[in-house]
């Protein structure tokens, strides 16, 4: 048994590729945990960042600076009465959130957090990701129909039309990135997520900068389409609250609703991971060419630890800013403990041996976080598109642009 466990350590394959079931399960558990934490953190961050954009404070009551608010929300949702409309189609109503969540989580089996940090390396990785994430819309459509109510139905209709439309543009953008992977000696590309990042490493350029501005345009198309795919502002028509109250999940409440919530945020993380993998060099650290050499390697490997230390310092700073009143004592202590926790993580990540291993994951998560911030920023800035405008953008702007970029990429690739 011990041998079996040890046999994987030191391997340079993902557990799935190495055929090590145990470690594959460990990875799955880790990703599931990490994702749940990320969704919870995202919930808090979105509310806080949006609040600060809108000249208000956001959650401040539960825990210091509202840090425990997501936990309280989760508890509330779990304990809430689970209402199923009397006229609903019970089976489909029950199945829909499950499908959405399954689709959103299943894609993470191939997301490469590092050269070996993925559950498995599928040779059709990107295809698998697109395919499985497109299954999520089935759940949305089923939810809208099963509620047997008009607003959810219209939400579901909108969402199905929207997602099918934007998948086309999204696919074209992805293909142009996949074409770029074939710019090597053998002339064969790859669909494997890890392979795509390795291709960027070999070619010494992130695909966003390759054939400038083609790579950039492809990523732009993807970045717009992915917002539409995940039903977020300004493309949040399926759940446009001012028109359809809550769109397809109007009739959902409690735990079932929280599944939709979970799925929405993990789908956001999933599509951001695709964008990061395809164009932003996945787990690769920035400026490998400009700032190369062992010294810079060392400097960049310190980044994860230092950023956690910085977060810890921020928390500590805010600890001192807490009002000196007995009412806030528990919160102040909590914030201080949180600062210590962050600092300890930072110190741990600075330790040699650890820092080399975590920096892949750090850079990947950092890039994904940039996209997540963009999501919040869009939401704070843009009004909502109307349905016909949304379709026009999808079919008349993004699709021709995607086709053009694809053709140009192919031509440039042949010429170079």
């Amino acid at each position: 048994m011990l041998e079996y466990i040890k046999s994987y350590l030191g391997s340079n394959l993902t557990p799935g590729s190495a055929g090590n079931m145990l470690w594959a399960f460990v990875y799955i558990a880790l990703i599931f945990l990490g994702l749940s934490v990320a969704v919870i953190a995202m919930n808090w961050l979105e509310r806080k960042i949006l609040a600060h954009m809108q000249v208000r404070l956001g959650p401040m009551r539960v825990g210091p600076h509202g840090l425990l608010q997501p936990v309280a929300d989760a508890l509330k949702l779990l304990l809430k009465e689970d209402i199923m409309p009397a006229e609903a189609d019970k089976l489909v109503f029950w199945l829909a959130p499950l499908i959405v969540v399954l689709a959103a989580f299943a894609v993470f089996t191939v997301v490469p957090f590092g050269p070996t940090h993925a559950v498995t390396d599928m040779n059709i990785g990107i295809l698998f990701m697109l395919g499985v994430s497109s299954l999520g819309v089935l759940g949305i459509v089923m939810a809208g129909w099963a509620s047997n109510s008009h607003y959810p139905l219209i939400g579901a209709l909108r969402s199905s039309a929207q997602m099918v439309s934007y998948e086309v543009a999204m696919g074209l953008a992805v293909v142009s990135a996949v074409l770029m992977t074939s710019m090597n000696a053998q002339g064969t590309g790859t669909l494997s997520m890890i392979g795509i990042v390795q291709a960027q490493q070999q070619q010494g350029v992130w695909f966003i900068f390759k054939f400038f501005p083609l790579g950039f345009m492809a990523m732009g198309i993807f970045a717009i389409a992915m917002v539409a795919e995940t039903n977020r502002a300004p493309f949040d028509l399926p759940e446009a609250e001012s028109e359809l109250t809550a769109g397809f999940h109007t009739e959902y409440s409690g735990f079932r609703w929280s599944l939709f919530f979970l799925a929405e945020y993990s789908a956001m993380i999933a599509v951001s991971s695709i964008a990061v993998t395809l164009w932003l060099g996945g787990w690769l650290r920035p400026f490998p060419n400009l700032l190369g050499g062992p010294l810079w390697d060392l400097v960049f490997s310190l980044a994860p630890g230092l950023s956690f230390l910085a977060l810890g310092a921020m928390a500590a700073f805010n600890t001192f800013r807490m009002p000196r009143h007995s009412f806030f004592r528990v919160q102040t202590v909590g914030l201080a403990l949180f600062a210590v926790l962050l600092a300890m993580i930072g110190v741990l990540m600075l330790a040699p041996g650890v820092r080399e291993r975590v920096q892949d994951i750090f850079w990947f998560c950092f890039k994904v976080a940039v996209f997540m911030y963009l999501y919040i920023w869009y939401r704070g800035t843009f009004p909502r598109y109307r349905f016909d405008q949304l379709m026009r953008v999808g079919w008349k702007v993004l699709l021709p642009a995607g086709l053009g970029v694809l053709i140009l990429t192919a031509i440039v690739g042949v010429l170079v």
Binding site: G19, D89, L91, V92, L95, M122, N123, I124, L127, F128, L130, G131, V132, S134, L135, V137, L138, V141, M142, G144, W145, A146, L153, A156, L157, S160, A161, M163, V164, E167, G171, T188, L191
Partner: protein, 169 residues
């Protein structure tokens, strides 16, 4: 490469596919039928994976389960389910349908029995790595003409659909 394709998975996926297929025709509610069809399509995708055809499996999921079925559901949702529920699911041609099904089954069995020598005893050792590339080479090399004809047909279908659905263009 360890074989993942154990007989257990084969039987599991086939059973699911067949069950799904049966559900498609016996359920009165069209949405339930569509969901059953999705189960069938996904099981078939799993079978493709077992045949070392990951690309086909992926495309099956994207195109059929993710794209076409969504459009199916889209249309079904607009149909008055209550009315179709009241109508009899089996209409008067059921005995023709059974005859056709029996005939088709007999054809399959006879082909399988007669040409047993054609099937290899074991799965062909296909190089998994180059699978997708091979498909690309075949599609855009050997079968270029057929592929383009198919795409032309689809284009015609799209135009036809637009003409039929739109009042004025």
């Amino acid at each position: 490469m360890n074989p993942v394709a154990t007989p257990f998975f084969f039987y599991l996926l086939s059973t699911l596919a067949i069950l799904g297929g049966v559900m498609v025709i016996v359920r009165r509610n069209a949405v339930h039928s569509a969901i059953a069809l999705i189960v069938t399509l996904l099981s078939v995708a799993g079978l493709y994976l077992m045949l070392y055809a990951p690309f086909v499996a992926g495309v099956q999921i994207i195109v059929y389960a993710g794209g076409i079925m969504v459009l199916f559901l889209f249309v079904i949702m607009l149909v008055n389910i209550d009315r179709s529920m009241k109508e009899r699911a089996f209409n008067k041609q059921w005995w023709i349908a059974i005859a056709a099904a029996v005939a088709l089954g007999a054809l399959f069995v006879s082909v399988f029995v007669k040409s047993k020598g054609l099937f290899p005893e074991r799965g062909l050792p296909l190089a998994e790595e180059s699978n997708t590339q091979q498909i690309g080479l075949y599609l855009y090399g050997n079968y270029m003409f057929a592929f383009e004809i198919a795409s032309l047909l689809l284009l015609v279908a799209i135009i036809g659909a637009v003409v039929m659905a739109k009042k004025r263009i």
